[in-house]
Structure formats: C-alpha cells, structure tokens
Amino acid sequence: MAEVEIRAVSKAFKKTQAVSDLSLTVGDGEFVALLGPTGAGKTTTLRLIAGLEMPDCGSIRIGGRDVTGDAPADRDIAFVFQQYSLYPHLSVFENMAFALRAPIRRVPEAEIRAKVREVARLLHIETKLENKATQLSGGQMQRVAIGRALVRSPAIYLMDEPLSSLDAKLRGEMRLELKRIQTDLGATILYVTHDQTEAMTMASRIGVIEGGRLLQIGTPREIYENPINAHVAARLGQPAINLLPAVLFAGAPVGARTVGARTEHLTIARGGGDVQATVKRIEHLGDQSHLHLDLGGQSVVTLSDPEARLGAGDIVSLRLNKPLFFDADGGRVAA
C-alpha cells in the first residue's frame, strides 16, 4: 500500500476536455470515492492513474515515485472495471490467478492456489472456482472481478463503479463486504461512483467531480454539511436538496440568492412557521414518505412522518432551521 498523488493533471480527447487541472492525494490505507455524474471525468481519472491514458500535462506519483510515463504493468496498481472483463476462455480460478501468473511476478504455484482460495472464501465464491467465467450470475462475475484485484497487494486499488451492475439487495451486501475487506486489509482504494450511498457509506473522503474538475474533497460529513457550492450540495442527500429563491424567506444573509434546504432543514407544522405551502402529492415508501409541496410556485420535496396524516391540498407551514445559502453563481454564502 502506498500514497498516490495526482498533481495538476489534464486530459483532453480531441475537443472534449475530460479532466482539467485535477489534483488529488489518496493517503496510505485511505478509501477515497470520486462522486460525479456520467461524463464528469471520473473514469478518465482512474485510467490516467492506471496508465491506460497518458495525461496531456501534470504528474502522477505512486508511493513517492513519478510514474507518469510508466506502462500500466510497472505501476503496481489493480483495477476493477465497470464491465467485469472476465476472461471468457478461463475458469474462475484462472481468472483470479491471472495477475499472479504474470511473467514479471513468478509467484510459486502453491502460493497462487492458497491466495486465490483465500480471496475466494472472502468473497463467498469458493464453490465456483472451477466454473467457466461465463457460467456465473452478474453478482458472481462482479465478485470474481473484485477478487482478481484482491489476490494482489498493489499500491492502490482503482475501482470503476464495480457495484453498478448489481441489483439493489446485492449492492447493499457488497458495500458492507467491500468496506469490511478494505478495513481488514488496510487497502488504499480510489473508488469511482455516481451513487451517493456508496460514496457516503464506504469512503473516508469523497471527492465531488464535475466537468473534469474536482469541486470539493472532504469527509462525507464535511461534503454533506458544508458543501462549497450548490453543485456539491445537490450531489448528496435523498431526496435532493431543495434550491429555492432566497426572496421567499425572510432573514437570508446579504448576497444570498438561493436557499438550499435539505429535508432536515425543514420543519413541517400545521400552523405557524415561516412560509405556507400546499401539499401536492405524497409518496409512501413504508418507513417514510416523500412529501411534494408547492411553495409559491416552486416545488419542494421533503420527508414526512408516515403518521403525519397529510393529504393532497392540505396547507402546511414550513420553518427553516439553519439552511445553506448560495450566491448568484452558486457559491456558498455564510449564514
């Protein structure tokens, strides 16, 4: 395991600027998640670190060594692809042993067997080792893909949305598993995802990336509670943060044009409060309900207690508790 440092890296594909002046340090044993929408430059960042793409400028250091011009094989990294990329002509065992069999490693056969079995046990695929890689379910394939990386002890594991193809239940399980494995092994992981739950639950730090730029990096709590701008604020939270014109509320600070109100910033009452809103629709999710409100022509989505017994057309009043404020460009304004 080692520290990975990206310094002012940029990469363009023809006219598309995929990554712009991106700097990021992943500490030894740290789990960093890059969170962003499709096309934000997350995957390109991983491929740049892996050496599958060459940066137009900037440098990449792994364990203090400059690897910017090195071949992927010389960088001591492991990569889990979004598409599992299992070798269809090999068995599960051979897929997992593939990296250990590389000519540059010369791992003894007994050690390979032991290592593959150990990792297979960890991922609960030990009974599938003799199967062809193509005779597995999606979830099993994904485990093999992760296992193929775990048999090695590289400087860093790069993971490109490894859970995105799994169903919700399996994804939840694998999230816990992956976090447990990372803690047990003390592994350094840079993990790319567009799923905020994955980022929030697994990462020690989250980097929010958009348009090839790293907007903010910090602990999940920092990013959630203290976003530097409206973009970052909108990335996290379920239901998403409500961005409302500041004029609707009294007491907004000078320069604030937008109020960012997450569900916990809004208190619903039948009377009193700062502003009045009309209930448009209620989505019952069982343990909680999504309440869709109309606030002076703006839509607001918040959570409500299923016991609240509200119905469409009801008038409720809202009170804001320490919401976030943003200026005209979306930047944060101190309350």
């Binding site: 094989a73 960088r75 492991a78 299992l86 269809p88 002509h89 193809s165």
Partner: protein, 317 residues
C-alpha cells in the same frame, strides 16, 4: 387454456416449415454431392467401366485407378511376363493382366507432398501475418489507416492471373521459379489481404478491456495479446485459416505457370495423368479423391472452433 394451446410461437418454426426447410436442405445436399460421389465411384471403376455409355452405377470395384495413380508401368510381351516370378503385390497383378509390369512409383506422392507443404506453409504465414496486422489496425492509431486498409483490399481486386507474367519474370530473375519457397510466398501474399480483413473484424469484436486488464495485471502488450486476444480470436483464426488453405490448396493457374518439376503441386499434375490411349479417368478420379482428404480433415478438425460464438459475453456492454 385453449388460447395458449392454439397460439403458436413466433420464434419456433411450425412443423410444416421445418419439413419444407429439411427437404430443401436434403435436395441441395444431394445436388452438390453428386459430382463428389461420381468422382469417388469413378476412382474405383476399371478404365472400361469409367467411359462406358450409358454410365454404370453398378460395377465391379477395382483398385486399378489407384494403382495406376501411384505407379508407372511399361508394356511387355506375354512371353516376357511369363518369365517373371510371381507378381509383387496387387498392382503388379493388375498390370500383368493388361500385359504390363510396374516400372516404378509415379510422381503423385511428391506432388501431393509439395501441395501439403506449400498450402499449409502459406496458410500458417498468411494467418500469422494477418493476425498481427489485424491487431495493429484494430488497436493502434495507424496513420492513414483507412487508406492502408483499402490498399490491402485493393490487391484482391484484379484477378491474380493478371500479374502472372510479371511474377513469372521476377521469379525467374531471382531464382524463385519452381521452388516451394516461391510458391509459399506467392500464396501468402495473395491470402494475407483476405486474412487481414477477416481477422480485423473478429479482433474488433474483442473488447479492449481484456488487454487493459491484463496489462494492469503485469503483462506487456504482446503477452496480453498472446494470453488474452489470441484465445478469443480462435474462431476467426480458424475460419480464416480454412479460407486461406482452400485457396492455396486448389490454386491452379499460378501453379501451372510457375512450377514444372521440383515444386509442382497436385492440381496441375492431376489433369495430365495419361493412361494408354488417352486420359486415365480412374487414376484422375483417384487422385482427385485423395486430394479432397486433407481439406475435409482440416475443416472437420476446426469445426468446433467455427461453430462456437466469439465472446460469450463476460463483458457487459
């Protein structure tokens, strides 16, 4: 449920369609097999039966055609033949019944061996070169890629025989005429364009992630090519090899022009097998029958690879 019972599947053909399709296939197979069957039958006929009219379908089988194919014979007087000892083997026996003795082996075996060496040699070379260049064209940013690919294809646009004379003159000057090496190089250069185009299609279908994964796992690009791309390209390589082999094996025009003795292949040799008083049809048929065997064997051996799909979807697209 009556609805379910009467409803018919949109993907499964109905029994009537199946029967019709089956009969068409059988009919087609019969039509295409007749010439082959006729050649095999003729190879077991006596020279008289082979040219009898109306043609004989039922006849006494004879190995005379095969004997005549593999031997040269000389005519002798019955008195001389009587002075000889007992016949040496079946062919000698057949020859003596026609007042001849076996004088020695014919040239068929060396011609057949030439065919094997030249066809398989050029197939191996064309497929090897084709695989490497197809991989290059498929994966790297080659300057003028499209133009180069078109140029490679354009070498197949004229009939090969159009360049026969220049090649004949060139080969004579550099000493390649009537050599196996010359024929291997010639067939390779004709086949390599086909190989590049066919294989590029197959390799394009193999996702790059496999090589990228292998290169990250510690393999060089060439090692990744050997370990990951080649095994998945076997279907394409097998299909390409069969096409190349069939061309090189059957090629006649260049072989007639450029070979006469040392490097002559079977195709120009077979039509000039002369018996007494003209063409020895059973021997020609026997030569043709044997000539079919290597291609059939090769195709059957590679059949498994031809039928298997390329990448069975371990990459999610």
């Amino acid at each position: 449920m009556s609805i379910a019972n009467t409803a018919h599947s949109v993907v499964e053909p109905s029994p009537n369609t199946r029967r019709l399709a089956g009969s068409l296939v059988v009919l087609y197979a019969v039509v295409t097999m007749i010439p082959l069957v006729w050649i095999v039958l003729t190879s077991f006929k006596s020279p008289d039966d082979a040219i009898s009219y109306p043609p004989k379908i039922v006849f006494t089988p004879s190995l005379e055609g095969f004997c005549n194919l593999f031997t040269t014979r000389s005519r002798q007087t019955p008195e001389f033949i009587r002075t000889l000892g007992p016949p040496q083997g079946l062919c000698d026996d057949i020859a003596r019944s026609r007042n001849m003795v076996v004088a020695g082996p014919s040239n068929y075996v060396p011609r057949f061996v030439n065919s094997l060496i030249i066809a398989f040699g050029s197939t191996v070379l064309a497929v090897a070169l084709g695989t490497l260049s197809a991989y290059g064209f498929s994966r790297f940013r080659v300057p003028l890629k499209d133009d180069l690919l078109f140029f490679i294809l354009s070498t197949r646009m004229m009939p090969p025989i159009a360049v026969a004379i220049p090649i004949y003159l060139m080969y004579r000057t550099i000493g390649l005429s009537d050599t196996r090496l010359g024929m291997i190089l010639l067939y390779t250069s004709v086949n390599v364009s086909l190989a590049v185009w066919l294989l590029k299609g197959f390799i394009d279908e193999i996702p790059r992630e496999y090589e990228e994964a292998a290169m990250i796992d510690g393999y060089t690009r060439f090692q990744a090519f050997v370990k990951v791309v080649l095994p998945q390209a076997t279907t394409g390589i097998a299909a390409t090899a069969i096409f190349c082999l069939i061309f090189a094996w059957n090629e006649y025009a260049f072989a007639v022009l450029l070979t006469s003795g040392n490097a002559q292949t079977a195709p120009p040799f077979i039509p000039i097998i002369i018996g007494e008083g003209g063409q020895d049809w059973p021997a020609v048929a026997a030569a043709t029958t044997l000539f079919l065997v290597p291609i059939v064997v090769f195709t059957v051996l590679l059949r498994k690879h031809l039928l298997r799909g390329i990448t069975f979807g371990a990459v999610r697209k």
